[in-house]
């Protein structure tokens, strides 16, 4: 703990604590895990970026079907490489203390594969394909599923889910807070 603490000034830790949902101890723990991914790059510079491949090696992300989307959404440079601040952001949103609306906002971005700020049927299809893993739904089933989701969620009938509609669906999904969570 002493070793990792000396990498940050008191002011930096204070800032991190103020602007994320972590306490100082948790922040140092996150730092420890982050450092294990690529100690060499980080020994020189605290703010060095780690490549997406290394981030996706993290055990908590490895089996996640959306790991590339997660890296892309939280990376401040938009290409998947994350600095420590991005990583801290990510873990803060996924932590228990983050309120639901923050999680919903990021969930929307993760599921929006083509980044057009709506979840269209193409996006949905890709989400479901990723979820079901090796077994894929038949085309007919997939279409039925997408129709059903749009029927209950798409209130303005434009064949895509805007953020408000997505939020509306999530508010009726009781499992969301429990599943949208990563503990380090």
């Amino acid at each position: 703990m002493g070793g990792s603490q000396s990498r940050f000034t008191e002011q930096e830790l204070e800032d991190y604590q103020e602007l994320t949902y972590f306490t100082k101890k948790e922040i140092l723990h996150v730092w420890k895990r982050f450092q294990q991914l690529d100690p060499d790059a980080l020994s020189a510079d605290n703010n060095a970026k780690i490549t997406a491949e290394k981030i996706m090696d993290l055990p908590e992300l490895k089996v996640n079907p959306f790991k590339d989307r997660i890296c892309k959404v939280f990376s401040s440079s938009g290409d998947g490489n994350m600095s420590f601040e991005d990583f801290l952001d990510m873990m803060s949103v996924f932590s228990d203390n983050a309120p639901k609306n923050v999680k919903v906002e990021y969930a929307f971005r993760i599921y929006d594969f083509d980044e057009d700020d709506t979840i269209s049927s193409g996006d949905l299809k890709r989400v479901v394909d990723r979820l079901t893993g090796e077994k894929n739904l038949s085309d007919e089933d997939m279409q039925q599923l997408i129709d059903n989701i749009f029927e209950e969620a798409d209130l303005d009938d434009d064949d895509s889910l805007s953020f408000a509609e997505f939020e509306h669906v999530i508010s009726k999904a009781p499992d969301f807070v429990n599943s949208f969570r990563i503990r380090l």
Partner: protein
């Protein structure tokens, strides 16, 4: 054509305002002067309004909606048009006057929620806090400092809690392996563990310790009520208690085999230990220097407090989980959204579990689509089909009731047989093992029934043709009934044995009744055996069924075995086991004060046994258990079990005469008498106050008040349901309005639309900007085409609205574009 073009600065972010500006100031859309009729009247929501003629869209309600919307979206155009400032305005924080720490703190809370990268938030914060901070004077500064201290203490406590948090690493590995559904079972187990520790601590400190430490005193007046006129009608018989206690003897054999047997049965050397009720004395313990500790009063008060605390804890827990499920079921239940968007458990770490999770999501989706087909099948049932189905269901329910009845009768007769066998004359000539078996026979029978009958129910329910979630619910309800019914029958049969009518002076049964010198200890022994049995069953199931099955199916190379696979972790049945154990604890702790200790140890050991089962011996179930759905159901079952426990305990305190040979109530005719005696010693004023408060008039008035409050709350909730429907309709109409307007705009701007279409496409495809962005105004843009949003809870950078080059081009065409993209959450559509 109007020549007063609205300037860029006039554009408010409010969606409805834009519409109003467009509509009112231009009398139509961009010069399309349709004589007389304005586009306003063609909007779908206005049409709906006309058609509805309803009270919903009255002028007043719309006006109040508009007020709310304006309040929400209050923006001072001359000050700033930054949409990132919306959350601050929403909370009525003036960011230009960040002068004191309290505002700073509030701003920080909002900043944390901004969905932007960390660097942006830091920039924002630095900019906002760049001014000097004026310290607040006096009272508010002190209050702010208190809050700061409180926050620091809270953080310190949470961090300390992490060090000592029980089983934290176990939870993490279980969640990674099996998912959050199984984790909820272990969380429930931990909750029960702490509840039982509390009960154990109370009983240990207030009942066991005093009895053990201090010597027995005498039957003082505080115990007998002698000399107090108010308690003169309560019969206290100390002489009978003394003689009968002397007559209460137990044969203690010291043969080693007997010792073990007695340990398992609670008889012999165990019977007069602190484990059972009979050990405790009815007198006032002598604490020295003429202080006394009234044992009977302590005993009853501890019981009542434990039950009350359990009730309070359960209610708190139920309300928490009830809120979540109520939110999801009050509106139309959206299964698909839940499966797809909340289906993947992000906490999973193990690869095999992840594969299984994918499979189960696939199965979930397929089965939900099957549901649709099931519903169609149901709708297509003919009259004859329905008749047949209902007859089948009726018969199966009769069969289930017959099963329950048969189980009940079996338990009753076994308990009867066991009691009479143990007390019969020739019991000493029988083999030790036989005696042990007979003593344990009620518990064994209950355990066997609890294991076998649910399987029968599972087979039988297939013939009833219910939908899958309904099948799970019905089977669970039946199993719950079975368990509670078997306990109820056991209690009833014990009661029959105890309240047999032929008794001698010491209230011990003479033939043909079974001679039980101390019936409370007898009851305590029954529950003691049940607890031990339950623990042994759990142990046996894991080590003699799940472990061998796992070893066989993974190590052996047989195809057949591989196909069977290891056992699945069945969460509902495991939770019911825990509920059953807790019910035993509540029923038994009055008669056997150390049962909570046993339950604490049992739960602790069971945690590790179940952890082994979850991590190694079992695999996640095909249909993963959804934590949220059944959490409140299990709390509900626990509550039902709790109230079921209160009935026998309460009845025995009030009505069943205690045995004169043993226990803290041996001198009384009813256990509740000690309360009346103590109460009679109170000062007169207190006495008369309590008397008035418990009189019928006051209680009646309170009941009426309670009924009125319940009625009011239910009326309010039905109004809220109406409100939800109204708002949903409004949402839909808003969306239609937007689509309509966009279509008109498209239609009117013809080929110009093409150019803007291209611009939009380009903007969409470019990557987000690197580096810290500056604070943007409404009219700036970033190539990152995040749409403007009106909702106060999110902010993002806004699209560029270039100044219009020529007059004919629609003003801020992209603004019109933004109409379609503006978040629908602006509900207050301010028509007038």
């Amino acid at each position: 054509m109007s020549n007063t073009r609205p300037k860029l600065g006039d554009f408010k972010i409010s969606n409805s305002f834009v519409t109003k500006q467009l509509v009112e100031k231009h009398g139509g859309l961009y010069g399309s002067n349709r004589p007389g009729k304005s586009i306003y009247n063609e909007l779908p929501s206005k049409q709906a309004l006309r058609n509805k003629l309803g009270a919903r869209f009255t002028r007043k309600s719309l006006k109040s909606n508009r007020h709310q919307a304006e309040k929400k979206n209050k923006i001072h155009p001359q000050e700033n048009g930054n949409v990132e400032m919306i959350p601050f305005q929403e909370n009525e924080i003036n960011i230009f006057e960040v002068k004191d720490r309290k505002t700073q703190w509030e701003i920080l809370e909002i900043l944390k929620q901004l969905p932007t990268p960390y660097s942006v938030r830091k920039e924002l914060r630095d900019k906002l806090f760049s001014g000097s901070v004026k310290p607040r004077g006096g009272c508010s500064r002190w209050w702010y400092n208190q809050q700061l201290q409180w926050n620091k203490t809270k953080i310190f406590c949470t961090e300390l809690g992490y060090k000592f948090e029980l089983w934290r690493n176990s939870f993490k590995s279980i969640e990674g392996n099996q998912g959050s559904g199984v984790l909820s079972y272990f969380v429930f187990m931990k909750w029960l563990f702490f509840l039982n520790i509390f009960i154990f601590a109370l009983q240990f400190i207030f009942i066991l310790l005093p009895q053990v430490i201090w010597p027995t005193g005498s039957y003082a007046t505080s115990v007998t009520g002698a000399g107090n006129s108010l308690s003169s009608d309560i019969i206290v018989n100390t002489t009978r208690a003394n003689t009968c206690s002397a007559l209460y003897t137990v044969n203690v054999t010291t043969a080693s085999y007997k010792v073990v047997q007695d340990f398992l049965q609670g008889t012999g050397w165990m019977e007069k230990t602190a484990l059972f009720y009979g050990y405790y004395s009815a007198d006032a313990l002598d604490l020295g220097s003429s202080n006394e500790y009234i044992m009977p009063l302590a005993y009853i008060l501890v019981t009542i407090i434990c039950l009350l605390v359990s009730l309070v804890q359960m209610t708190r827990h139920t309300i928490q989980s009830f809120r979540e499920t109520l939110l999801s079921t009050s509106t139309k239940h959206s299964e698909y959204g839940n499966t797809v968007f909340a289906g993947w458990d992000f906490a999973m770490v193990d690869e095999k579990s992840a594969i299984l999770r994918s499979k189960s999501i696939y199965n979930d989706i397929v089965s939900e689509l099957e549901e649709e087909k099931y519903k169609q099948r149901v709708a297509m049932r003919t009259g004859g089909d329905k008749c047949k189905l209902y007859t089948i269901r009726f018969l199966i329910n009769i069969f289930v009731l017959a099963c329950l009845g048969g189980a009940g009768y079996g338990i009753y007769s076994i308990t009867d047989f066991s009691a009479s066998f143990t007390q019969s004359a020739d019991v000493t000539s029988k083999d030790d093992l036989t005696v042990l078996l007979v003593q344990y026979s009620p518990s064994i029978v209950i355990a066997v029934l609890n294991g076998v009958v649910p399987l029968v129910f599972g087979i039988v329910v297939k013939g009833e043709d219910y939908s899958q979630p309904m099948v799970v619910k019905i089977t669970l309800i039946r199993v719950v009934f079975l368990r509670l019914a078997s306990l109820a029958v056991l209690i009833a049969s014990i009661y029959v044995t105890i309240s047999c009518s032929t008794k001698d002076g010491c209230r011990r049964g003479t033939s043909p009744c079974v001679d039980i010198p101390c019936w409370e200890t007898y009851v305590g022994q029954a529950f003691y055996k049940l607890v031990i049995m339950e623990f042994l069953v759990e142990f046996a199931v894991t080590f003699f069924y799940e472990l061998p099955r796992k070893l066989l199916t993974t190590k052996c190379k047989s195809n057949f075995l591989q196909k069977i696979g290891p056992a699945e972790f069945d969460v509902p049945i495991s939770v019911l086991d825990l509920v059953y154990l807790q019910t035993l604890c509540w029923l038994g702790f009055f008669y056997s004060p150390l049962i909570p200790t046993m339950v604490v140890i049992a739960v602790f050991v069971m945690f590790y046994i179940k952890q082994l089962s979850a991590l190694y011996c079992t695999v996640p179930a095909q249909k993963p258990y959804r934590a949220s759905k059944s959490n409140s159901f299990f709390m509900f079952v626990l509550m039902i079990a709790f109230f079921m426990c209160c009935v026998p305990v309460g009845y025995s305190i009030y009505k069943v005469p205690p045995s004169p040979s043993c226990g803290p109530f041996r001198i009384y005719n009813d256990m509740i008498d000690i309360i009346f005696i103590t109460y009679a010693w109170w000062p007169t004023t207190l006495y008369s106050i309590v008397d008035t408060l418990t009189s019928t008039a006051v209680i009646g008035a309170l009941l009426i008040l309670l009924i009125l409050i319940i009625y009011y709350c239910s009326a309010r909730s039905s109004v809220y349901k109406e409100m939800v429907k109204v708002l949903q309709e409004q949402l839909v109409l808003d969306g239609k309005d937007k689509a309509f307007l966009l279509a008109r705009v498209n239609e009117l701007t013809g080929n110009k639309g093409g150019k803007n279409e291209q611009r939009r496409e380009r903007a969409r495809r470019s990557p987000p900007p690197p580096g810290p962005p500056q604070l943007k105004t409404v009219n700036e843009v970033t190539p990152n085409s995040k749409k403007m949003n009106v909702s106060p809870s999110h902010t993002s950078e806004i699209k560029n609205v270039p100044p219009p080059a020529d007059y004919d081009q629609p003003l801020n065409y992209n603004r019109a574009d933004n109409i379609s993209d503006a978040r629908i959450s602006n509900v207050g559509f301010d028509f007038d």
